[in-house]
């Protein structure tokens, strides 16, 4: 939580069209900051600019507003900034990161309750791992967002190797209410299950965040052996072969 006194202001410069794992880079960075419990961040779009590539990006019609400069700003304590920098440097890619000393005169009133965890190594391609299953209801919400989606996004922002949401057709849980799909009623509350696989350390590091989000539901952990974990970004040739 941000308190009055000295702090750091971090400014990241990226391009609007830059992508990160299939979503725009600035929203990936914003998500990362959000789920790491940063008190606040703003994204500002510039109207013209140029960067390391010395390409002028403008809004002039004939050039069809391409890759406008985006500035992401946030203020945090020096320790927290230190903790997030390695991941931010990786995210920002060819962009620029700037840090300024600043003074918080009045901290904003409410801050997120999630807390950041140290970065632990990500899932290796094979070996021992843990499988976590989270059972919640389709109508459960977290900050005006479906809980299952919020969980998925927060896992992505916390570098969890992967998660899948399954929709059940019938079930009941801790509160003894039967959840089922009803064709005549649009407001059905179906059971949802998230299946998450990653190393035990990473999952355990994620528990406090999970704990703050799941108000009712069941979370269980079991052993898993990872047989294969690959993605096409590291292995473009294999993917091409597979498509043939």
């Amino acid at each position: 939580m941000l308190t009055a006194g000295p702090a750091k202001k971090v400014i990241l410069y990226v391009g609007e069209d830059h992508q990160y794992h299939g979503q725009s880079l600035y929203s990936a960075i914003l998500n990362f900051l959000f789920y790491r419990g940063i008190s606040g961040a703003s994204v500002i779009r510039g109207i013209a600019g140029f960067g390391a590539d010395h390409h002028l990006h403008t809004m002039r019609i004939e050039r069809l507003t391409e890759n406008l400069p985006i500035k992401i700003e946030f203020v945090e304590s020096a320790e927290k900034v230190e903790e997030l920098l390695p991941k931010l440097s990786e995210l920002v890619g060819s962009g620029l990161i700037e840090i300024q000393d600043t003074t918080v005169v009045k901290p904003s009133e409410e801050s997120a309750k999630t807390s950041a965890k140290p970065v632990t190594p990500s899932l290796r391609s094979e070996g021992k791992a843990k499988l976590m299953r989270i059972f919640v209801g389709e109508n459960d919400r977290w900050h005006d967002m479906p809980l299952y989606r919020a969980l998925l996004e927060s896992m992505r922002a916390n570098d969890i190797a992967g998660a899948t949401v399954y929709q059940g057709i019938l079930g009941y849980g801790a509160n003894r209410r039967i959840h089922k799909e009803t064709t005549l009623n649009l407001s059905h509350d179906r059971p949802m299950m998230l299946s998450v696989v990653d190393s035990e350390e990473k999952l355990r590091a994620y528990f406090p965040i999970l704990d703050g989000m799941v108000e009712q539901g069941l979370v269980v952990l079991s052993d898993a052996d990872v047989i294969k974990y690959t993605h096409s970004l590291t292995n473009p040739e294999k993917k091409k072969e597979a498509q043939k």
Binding site: M132, R133, F135, G137, N139, D140, Y166, Q167, G168, I169, L170, G171, Y172, G173, A174, N175, R176, R177, I178, D189, P191, M193, F207, L210, D211, V214, E215, Q216, G217, L218, V219, V220, L221, S222, D223
Partner: protein, 115 residues
């Protein structure tokens, strides 16, 4: 109801068209679980699969006779699961029942909060 520490997870695989006493089997299983006060049960529908009969189950969009693969996931203490097993043995004529160990991280509910 409290559930913590080590527990068992049961997964029961069968087809959507399977019946138990004129009732869909999946519904009968969930009702039986509730009757036995099992902590929770969830039914999932698969989109394709095959099982002991090696018959490929695939839901057809154009016909009403889809026999999609179903999976019921049940989690509770070993003692509670053992209570359920004899009934399952009788009810599931054709299918697979698998049991595994799980560690319960969280099991919470809030009375009356969910409308």
């Amino acid at each position: 109801m409290k559930l913590e520490g080590t527990a068992k997870m049961l997964r029961i695989h069968f087809g959507e068209d399977d019946k138990w006493k004129d009732k869909p089997l999946y519904r009968a299983i969930v009702e039986k679980c509730r009757e036995l006060d099992i902590a929770g049960a969830t039914v999932f529908r698969g989109i394709e699969g095959y099982g002991a009969s090696t018959l490929i189950r695939r839901p057809h969009h154009l016909s009403f006779s889809h026999d999609a693969p179903l999976m019921v996931s049940v989690i509770d203490s070993e003692e509670q699961i053992q209570k359920l097993l004899p009934f399952l043995d009788e009810m599931v004529a054709e299918g697979l029942i698998a049991m595994s160990n799980v560690e319960v991280i969280k099991y919470v509910h809030q009375d009356g909060k969910r409308s």
